[in-house]
Symmetry: D2
Subunit: 447 residues, 4 copies
């Protein structure tokens, strides 16, 4: 759902009931006393921050849509000493998962006093009896060091599981607060769990921490792990550049993650500014023809003697699957390998259509970008997401994820977050930065 069509109803946050228990956090309710404050329930951040657009909305007498602000509430819904929490991680690995797990446990345990916290193993499978995976009891002492490690100490799995069985398990385990760390597939599952919980009238809060290394969840301006991922991808670019200039007519090609969106590719290209061409799923490009990739590469080799190219895995899929790909366990489209395709295609082009003998060096850092520990900034972000998730769940908010909107942490209904994938618009200033930094033509699509 696009931003301008958002309604107040779309942004409304579900609660389990009246929050009546005083929070144990001991914060202030007074601004200006130099003591950190509880966040009022009415606090919200505008969806729009452009003055002209806002003036139009005001003129038209439309309501100002806004995201509910996340943060600790003065009154909470759950009695900490009587509540049990569970954490589950699903889908692919991403830098920072362990940081989120650790922070969830730390704040639940030390700040709110929730002492029983289960770690569910291997994603949603961990709820299903037939898999027989034992859950971990998460205590501060056994998770103290996990933020320094990549991956997930709970491990993960892909694929949907029976929602009824999952909720049965939550009931059996007497869970009050469920935290799901995962992306699109996980959130679809979380929404179904939320609906089943509502149907059964259970007092279970479910709060998602959005995880997608591709940064493709709507209404979340940044997902954790992205920065770490493009930092690593930038190292690969450095190597591709070194290789490209290290041989006659060298071409370095780096393939990075990004199924539906090119955020990793675009950011990596800016982070290590040695890239000449960035190919992303959002922006179609031709291979042949006067402004197609091959000809443009040829011109560059003739003038400069080397080139570096970065390609997101979801770019140019029409060339590799013809759009007829299958789906994987998570329900994602199975992608063709555009990296290998380009490597072979470029080689063939130069051999058959030019007199240039190219030296192509192809780098696919693959899992190297996602299984590393979170960098410093992502580590902070994970803490912030986790702390806000706990505040939300303790306050009885449910069916939501923790979002990020113009520098504020927010509550976003899961339903809204999964309504569509976020993509990098070719009209986004970030893409302009890329074009200006690479010198890549504004379009590689022949008219």
């Amino acid at each position: 759902m696009s931003l301008e069509h958002l309604t107040v109803a779309d942004l409304k946050i579900a609660v389990l009931g009246k929050a009546a228990i005083p929070s144990p956090l001991g914060l202030s309710t007074v601004y200006g006393d130099n003591i950190v404050n509880y966040v009022e329930n009415s606090a919200s951040v505008l969806t729009c921050h452009d003055r002209d657009q806002l003036l139009k909305v005001i003129e038209q007498n439309k309501p100002l849509t806004a995201f509910e602000k996340a943060g600790p509430r003065e009154k909470i819904y759950f009695d900490p000493s009587k509540s049990r929490a569970a954490v589950v991680t699903c889908g692919g690995l991403c830098p920072g998962i362990n940081n989120v797990i650790r922070s969830l446990v730390m704040i639940l345990y030390y700040r709110y006093g929730v002492k029983t916290i289960y770690g569910i193993k291997y994603g949603y499978r961990g709820f299903i009896p037939k898999f027989n995976y034992e859950s971990l009891l998460l205590k501060p002492e056994n998770i103290a060091d996990i933020h320094e490690k990549g991956g997930s100490i709970l491990a993960s799995s892909r694929g949907a599981q029976d929602i009824g069985e999952i909720v049965d398990c939550l009931e059996r385990m007497k869970i009050s607060l469920l935290f799901t760390i995962g992306g699109d597939g996980t959130l679809h599952g979380a929404q179904a769990i939320y609906e089943e919980i509502s149907r059964r009238g259970l007092n279970i809060s479910i709060v998602g921490i959005p995880k997608t290394i591709d940064n493709d969840i709507s209404y979340v301006q940044k997902t954790f792990g992205l920065e770490t991922a493009f930092s690593i991808a930038a190292n690969a670019i450095r190597c591709a550049h070194v290789e490209a200039v290290g041989a006659p007519n060298g071409i370095g090609i780096v393939k990075v993650m990004g199924r539906m969106s090119g955020f990793i590719a675009a950011n990596a290209a800016l982070a290590l500014n040695e890239v000449n061409y960035v190919l992303i799923p959002e922006i179609p490009f031709d291979l042949e023809g006067p402004i197609g990739l091959y000809k443009i590469l040829e011109q560059r080799l003739r003038s400069r003697g080397h080139a570096v190219l970065i390609v997101a895995e979801g770019a140019g899929q029409q060339y590799v699957t013809g759009g007829k790909g299958q789906k994987d366990d998570s329900g994602n489209q199975r992608l063709g390998d555009i990296g290998i395709f380009l490597k072979d295609g470029i080689k063939k082009y130069f051999k058959e259509q030019t007199d240039i003998y190219v030296n192509i060096k192809y780098i696919d850092p693959s899992y190297l970008v996602r299984s590393v520990p979170a960098n410093a900034n992502d580590s902070i972000y994970c803490i912030q997401l986790a702390q806000n998730a706990v505040h939300a769940a303790m306050a009885g908010k449910t069916g939501i994820i923790i979002g990020r909107w113009i520098n504020n942490f927010t509550h976003v209904p899961i339903k809204l977050a999964i309504s569509e994938n976020k993509q990098l618009s070719p009209e986004d200033p970030l893409w302009l930065n890329v074009l200006e930094s690479t010198g890549q033509p504004i379009t590689m699509k022949n008219p």
Copy 2:
């Protein structure tokens, strides 16, 4: 000047004259055509993004204050082929300076076609004849690799220089566009240069790229280099933690930069979540007394056997200078060494007032945090600042810095930016994150 007292006039951007030359960038003016757009001159981002606050402003019929958005303009003021630019770096080193220099040159040279770009050596001194420093002619080929290096290829210096001589030099060199990379002191100089240029009626645009590793410039939500700095500081925390747990009653103390503001300390404490106490300039603390630092440290050692403390260099200055410090060349208050003071004070306390033999390990990473190359995210940020600075200057904007406001790059009058230092409010959510992550008491000030 505080946010709520900002007026429309405060935010007004000066221009040299009518921008009448079509930009050579070849962007679009149509939204929705999938081609990156020029930014309209009227585009602006609201200073306020809280719905309740905004509703109050509307109710009171006050004008909506907003920052002018940065970005490429369809019409520019300077004719690129006839314009010369200069870049100067002043004050202390900071990760990312070279990235900014490189991006300024690249976009001036390749995108706009400004081929004569001078690098002024050793800060404002480079303009002054008596120092006799030769300027560099910056070309893409001789700056191609500088983004991988820390420091500044132009080197820097501290201290004010004669404004008249500087402007004389700009005239002699026939500079049209001056880019200053520096912090508070630099910007005071830039404002004076701007005023002298106006007084002389010269057609010189001056645009600042704010540089302060402490992140303490007003109306700029993040300065470049901060992330890199606290990443390195986080490494020091890791070591302090290892040392603290590696000996009986170990205490690790890390001193970090932060003269007036605790952003590095607070972020580092979150980035490596092994810190128990964070001391920053903004928040006073007692040493003695039942909730003073010493007693609290003692309690922690008795219960946990080790502690880690991070202190910003500007924290607790009353203990070391009694508030009577001198000024350095940049006009900054000379600070007492709070790190050494605490190290000695804590040692003395435990020796004289307890039966605990403490092992204190003191780490002052000092220049290690500021002379490294920018990390991936800071590198991107530097590119964005530089590109927007060039767009602004080419469009004839002057007397401004490039700011950052709720995810938008903006134009901020230098005068406004230097009206006060930005600090970390104890009521900022970031400080809440710190308190929740460290478990530090909300106050260490005895009543």
Copy 3:
């Protein structure tokens, strides 16, 4: 040629003539005066350092073979002020090439006073007129920072060139000292150049700095770049381990360089001790059968739930090429892709012959391990090799490489160095370390 068959003649070092010029280095010739010394021409290090073996040699009255020690000589052959040097880099990239180039230049220029040093571009091609590559004039100021960069500032190429043309070029350029940085192919070329120089009776010294990331040059106990390479490979292992434990029945596979020898694989497996199986070219293994790889992997998954495997690119070639591979430009056997083969084979095995659904994560860091800058230890090693190469060449030694033998830098005739490839013996203590650390069976070869 194996160590025990070495004769004194094999180890004899060629010289261009009598070294009669006093060295400008100003070192001491007296031991015990606390001033660094020249190395005497007779100084040599025993090939054998095992007492029992040595006693046998003595008993049999055989001569004690020894490598000539490298180092500065009191008298040198070339007059520095009248000599010109050239440096060429050939073959694949390797961490440390730029460090070697820089140190060659620095010591030639500053210590000996050779002021004209050419950098030949693109390997041996740079000598051949038809390619028309311009040589660089290497000065301290233009190479000051290159040691911080991966790759080679001179770039490289593969393949042999006409020896006559190369020597013609050396004559035309009036080169006295030629330094070749390269591996097996390069050294074959260097030997041919050396022979042609001798044939023509030219006064040109040729000294090789052995470069092979695979560490496979005989009589050189360590080549530069190896450590950096396995450090990076170790990072890939960390990721593979994280991925393997992060999913049900996870298998991480890492492919690393090592055409003929498994040094990178073995060292990486020790450097990050999370590997269960190491496959190297030197040690054959079965896939099928009761102690074949597949069955052993199956047993491990059943007992531990995950596994990590590292494979050198040259391992198990009979499975991928049937031994009938072609040759590449450097004359190396073209290898089949054992990594992809194993990934597919393991997947197929588990699908068809077991009830286990495996999650295979395949990582091929490829160029990432060779195009990075040298790490600290390799940087030192590069300096030492380069300094000793210059000492040797200035003293008129020729037709040699700088070797390393039991902690001494040595002179090794090129002819001897290329007589065979060095491999990792399964009876080497290093392989024992690997077996003990991984727990891998002593053999995976069915009887």
Copy 4:
């Protein structure tokens, strides 16, 4: 004791008794069968590897001294299933301690079958009842990840403890194999323990793994952690260089560890080749006078405008303590702070005796270099030391450390190892490398 005075008796290794139990390792005793071999008890590596020196020894009919080779023995002394081991770490932290601990446990547990392994907390204190520290039971599963962390999971302490109480504790705990990880002080303790064990006629093997970040243990050519330490120190040099060139007349000073020996300083200066002066404890230098440090620095600033200086903490102690320092808990001489002394002295010199205004940037990375995890090469070295320590102890060797001699792991009597400190001779080729790389004068001592 210097190398040339070593006798066969000095090198003799003590054993607890006849090793009669077949090793469970299942290695080969046949060379050439491509299966890793046990090491024969007679295997030894010559102390001397210089041909001329050896020929003299032979001529004089003196016995050839040699170190016993380390490695697995075919027959062992202890019955693994009935033996208990203990590990203790003493003295300062050093990169790699946890790697050693982990490898000791892994090989004891999995390869030999020793299932009861105690980790003694806080050094020798952990044996003393009054401190009441609980020992850890070390199992593979609870130490699986420790090699990725700096420090020591057992923590450490300084200072001697009562030897009788320690041996009482070993008896009470029924320890058969004691592994001590520590430096000079620890080894003095270990020797005393060994002697007390002998006096009591106990069947306890004690094997030391030498730990000294300064690399100053005799007859051990490299200690673990050194490489990691100088890698980190090299980073500090990079920063010092950036700072030095970043300001007018910049001087970067880096202080590194090295109480008695300059190995870290010398290696770091080679590892990051931007250092102009290296000051180490082994080589005296003048401050004043025509070739003293101050004048030389002045000359460099006048000609080049910046300088970088690295100083080992033990250098120039006569200037700071006048040789009258006190001792610390480990019995080490308390050092004066030569770094701060030089910083102040240089500042004063330039202010009072020249017209140059210097910008001094002082970096003391202190604990940052020792509390990090081991790098790749050190990690391997730690494994090798630990595996060989276990082989030695299982075979009943005692009163020894694992040494390293010309590429072989060896057994060295503790008594010999502590007979004197190893230092970096100014006549060592490594120092020549430093002089050649820095351009530092051969002496800074006025005649």
